[in-house]
């Protein structure tokens, strides 16, 4: 059952629609058998990358390679690429079995072989016994699984997943996500997934490429993106973070440095990890994760502020603290809702260092 995966490569791919540049020279290699997630906000070009790979769009410049073979000139039918569409695009006039068999019939071959493959695929997605059902009779989750079975049936070399979970109820999503990952891993196929939800990318993707305005901001594993973001955009897009402005006070060895936060000149400087070329007195944005700080009510050393709101999620309480200089910072306090109010100070915790980036010119 396990197919030997093939590699997928984007080599300086450029694509524009009319005058809008959607992909500005993107290069990326997806390893054989890997599940790779393309993450990014809408309009970042991630869906275009997927559609280029599938052959629904033609690139303007660059190369596309599947198993080291150029495919950019091949029509979709001859690329050996299976796709799970966001809307599933199941054929509503065909039964479940006919949908799954569609790609097999196109290829010809023995009737019995196709039937066996359909049965195998439906078993894989746990829909045996649903062969004769009509698409409209299925739940959203079942439709998604039929679409997956249909995409996998003709044994494609690469599987493409376009926002595979966005059409499902939030309650169903988590369960389906694990299911999808299990099924795809079982087949061992190289998979490229597109999503705008970080959680989905983190759970499904072994590696993640974060796209922003037609370029790849960072490629790496989930923890790398979270702990060591390459840019302010990555830091704010992946996970929660508050941005505080300040200036570099002192450079230490490696990429460590201390930053004096602008909100309160007298407060203790923060220990940060710098990204890119920074010099003393450079203005920086510091991205602070909620779990990297703590708060204490009343007078104490730290950044003084006022608790503005509390949000209780079950495992933690998140406090929004308005600092004296006006900016807000979010602080996670593990445990039950403490109902804290009033004046407080915010302090840096040890452990992961917040990232500091050279301040953007046009920042609010």
């Amino acid at each position: 059952m396990t197919a030997s995966g093939v590699s997928v490569r984007f080599d300086d791919v450029f694509k524009a629609f009319d005058d809008t540049v959607v992909l500005a020279g993107v290069s990326l290699t997806v390893e054989p058998g890997e599940i790779f997630a393309l993450l990014g906000p809408s309009g970042s070009g991630k869906t275009t990358m997927l559609r280029l790979l599938a052959g629904f769009e033609q690139l303007d410049r660059g190369r596309l390679l599947i198993a080291d073979e150029a495919v950019e000139h091949l029509p979709p039918a001859r690329r050996g690429v299976g796709m799970l569409f966001q809307s599933y695009a199941l054929f509503p006039h065909l039964s479940v079995a006919e949908n799954v068999a569609f790609g097999l019939k196109v290829r010809g071959g023995a009737q019995g072989e196709a039937e066996a493959r359909v049965a195998e695929m439906l078993e894989l997605v746990r829909l045996s016994g649903f062969e004769q059902r009509r698409i409209a009779e299925l739940s959203g989750g079942q439709q998604q699984r039929v679409a997956l079975a249909r995409a996998l049936a003709p044994r494609p070399r690469v599987l493409l997943l376009d926002e595979p979970l966005s059409n499902l109820d939030p309650a169903l999503r988590e369960e389906t996500r694990a299911d999808l990952r299990r099924t795809v891993k079982q087949t061992g196929i190289t998979t490229v997934l597109v999503t705008h939800e970080q959680e989905e990318a983190f759970e499904l993707g072994e590696r993640i490429g974060l796209l922003h305005e037609g370029g790849l901001e960072q490629v790496g594993g989930p923890s790398e993106l979270y702990r060591d973001p390459a840019s302010r955009f990555v830091a704010t897009f992946v996970g929660r973070c508050s941005v505080l402005t300040g200036s570099v006070r002192e450079l230490h060895g490696g990429d460590e440095l201390t930053v004096r936060l602008a909100s309160q000149p007298g407060a203790p400087a923060w220990h940060c990890r710098g990204s890119g070329e920074l010099a003393v007195d450079d203005r920086v944005d510091v991205c602070v994760r909620p779990e990297a700080v703590e708060l204490e009510t009343g007078e104490a050393p730290g950044l003084a502020g006022e608790i503005e709101a509390e949000r209780f999620t079950g495992s933690s309480s998140f406090y929004t603290v308005r600092l004296a200089a006006g900016s807000a910072v979010e602080v996670a306090m593990p445990g039950t809702a403490a109902g804290l109010k009033g004046a407080c100070v915010v302090r840096q915790l040890g452990g992961e260092l917040p990232s500091a980036f050279a301040a953007a010119e046009s920042d609010p």
């Binding site: 524009a16 033609q58 303007d60 410049r61 979709p76 796709m83 569609f102």
Partner: protein
């Protein structure tokens, strides 16, 4: 876009296809109109001299000519108003009130839409004509009445009778799409019933009414059967054109044709302005308000009785037609009611191949034209929506153009363009051959099939085709196995309408038919001319039955959408 290293897909034919289909449509739809306009100026006609505006000058100086133009215009305005006056209240009655027999009556009231104009016209003739059933009935009661059903009023009567259905159907559709919550909101804000009607319901009905106005006005502008049968000396543009052609005044006929086409265009552009588009109609779609129940027993009986009387009045002409078809030749002279009834006429019609020929002609020509219109429609719609841009818009425009142009105009245009053998400019002698009438039917079918196929394809998720492609299906397989099965309701809707329309076509046929291709409508007309009313009525009933059968089959499959 960057030229360096640009990757293009190889197949040349694929990129040429939109242009090939477009070229065919331009040749079939746009070109004949240009030819007729050119020949009106004396350009390109065989043996004619240089360009001249002489014919146009006489058009504007001869009173009967510009009178015809003026009459066409005011007949159309009055027809629209009359149709609205009948159709809108009926729409409210059946959509907003729960009256006994509502569903059946509501469907019966819509029936005239399925009947060819000529059938309605001769049914009227038999019922309300000079020696019709109504006149004879009154005379037999000792009343000394006589009237002639002729001229403007007769035309208006027939128009109002056959075109109120547009307003009726559009009003019902518009009302059923309205959100009852808007009315409840107005009520809770203290609005009275009349305030709700004028400030909530009617404004939101505007798109539907604008649509019905456009349809009725344009239909009336191109109406031919009613003015032809009832007009007498009262000529409108369509009948004027045909008269000029029969009189051999070809140049004048082309001028009239050009003028009518311009009038139609101008009307279309003007009427489009009152159409607010879909903005008002769309938006939140809620549940329509509950129908008003009549509480008192007496009111319910009165409403039911009124409804049935109305349905009888509306269906009386068609009942008369059936009756007339049962009257054997030369058996009805002075009696109020035909003394003998039998199936002689039908026997006649079915036993002789010569008599049956027109029915078969109509069937095959309508079927062939409809089939071709579906094929062209699917190709054009797919190419247009996929290609977009200028060729895409042009394809759609060519498909819809014949809708805006009266049938008489196209008939004359095709007659002008296809009566000359000049293959190098795309003109072939088709007039007088087997092909000209099916080709004319095709032109007239294009907007009917095209509209629903374009709409159907727009609703189809484009990802379905991509899914088929990524699963390895080629273009032909995708069309046959995915697109066509899913488009079936839209194709059936468009094809059904086209088939019914072409089956009863009179306006193009009268200009272009040959003896071998004479359709039912022409046979009805010639039977009438030689006083074979029974045969004419039997043909009328045949047409009515065929149309109704096609309509019912169509309505069933298409889920009743217009």
């Amino acid at each position: 876009m960057s030229a360096a290293g640009a990757v293009r897909r190889a197949p040349q034919l694929r990129s040429l296809m939109p242009w090939l289909v477009l070229a065919f449509l331009v040749w079939l739809v746009g070109y004949p109109l240009l030819v007729v306009a050119a020949e009106a100026f004396g350009i390109g006609s065989p043996g004619g001299g240089g360009p001249t505006t002489e014919a146009f000058r006489s058009f504007f100086t001869r009173a009967d000519e510009w009178h015809a133009m003026w009459r066409t215009l005011w007949i159309s305005v009055l027809s629209t108003l009359a149709a609205a006056a009948i159709g809108v209240p009926l729409g409210f009655l059946f959509e907003r009130n729960e009256i006994p027999g509502r569903r059946l009556l509501g469907a019966l009231v819509a029936l005239p839409v399925a009947l060819p104009p000529l059938v309605g016209v001769i049914a009227f003739l038999f019922l309300y004509g000079e020696s019709g059933l109504a006149a004879r009935g009154l005379q037999s009661l000792g009343l000394d009445v006589s009237w002639r059903l002729t001229g403007a009023w007769a035309i208006l009567l027939v128009h109002a009778y056959s075109m109120y259905v547009y307003f009726y159907l559009f009003t019902r559709a518009g009302l059923s799409g309205q959100d009852g919550a808007a009315i409840e909101a107005a009520q809770s804000l203290g609005a009275s019933r009349s305030q709700i009607l004028f400030r909530v319901t009617l404004p939101r009905l505007r798109p539907a009414l604008a649509g019905a106005t456009l349809l009725t006005f344009m239909t009336s502008l191109g109406s031919f059967s009613a003015p032809y049968i009832f007009g007498g000396g009262f000529r409108v543009m369509t009948t004027q054109i045909v008269a000029s052609k029969l009189n051999g005044e070809l140049r004048m006929a082309y001028v009239e044709t050009t003028m009518l086409a311009l009038l139609a265009f101008a009307s279309l552009l003007l009427l489009r302005k009152i159409d607010p588009g879909l903005d008002l109609a769309s938006g939140a779609r809620g549940t329509p308000p509950a129908r008003r129940r009549l509480h008192s027993q007496r009111a319910r009986v009165a409403a039911a009785a009124g409804g049935w009387v109305l349905a009888c009045v509306l269906l009386l002409p068609h009942a008369t037609l059936i009756l007339m078809s049962l009257v054997p030749p030369n058996t009805w002279t002075v009696e109020a009611f035909p003394p003998v009834l039998g199936l002689v006429n039908y026997g006649d019609l079915l036993s002789s191949t010569e008599r049956l020929r027109p029915a078969l002609n109509s069937l095959w020509m309508a079927a062939a034209a409809t089939l071709a219109a579906v094929v062209v429609g699917v190709m054009a719609a797919r190419l247009s929506l996929r290609r977009g841009g200028l060729p895409g818009r042009a394809l759609e425009a060519m498909m819809t153009l014949p809708w805006a142009i009266p049938g008489t105009v196209f008939a004359l245009a095709l007659a002008a363009a296809m009566s000359v053998n000049a293959p190098w400019v795309g003109r072939f002698v088709l007039v007088g051959t087997l092909w000209i009438l099916p080709l004319a039917y095709l032109v007239r079918s294009l907007p009917l099939t095209g509209r629903s196929i374009f709409a159907g394809l727009r609703q189809l998720d484009p990802r379905l085709e991509e899914a088929a492609a990524s699963l390895g299906a080629g273009s032909l397989r995708t069309v046959l196995q995915i697109v066509l099965p899913l488009l079936r309701p839209a194709v059936i809707a468009g094809a059904g309408l086209a088939f019914i329309t072409m089956l009863g076509d009179f306006v193009t046929s009268i200009v272009l038919y040959t003896y071998d291709t004479r359709p039912i409508s022409i046979e009805i007309q010639s039977s009438l001319r030689i006083q074979e009313t029974g045969i004419a009525a039997a043909y009328g009933v045949l047409l009515m039955v065929l149309s109704a059968a096609a309509f019912i089959a169509w309505d069933d499959r298409a889920g009743g959408r217009l």
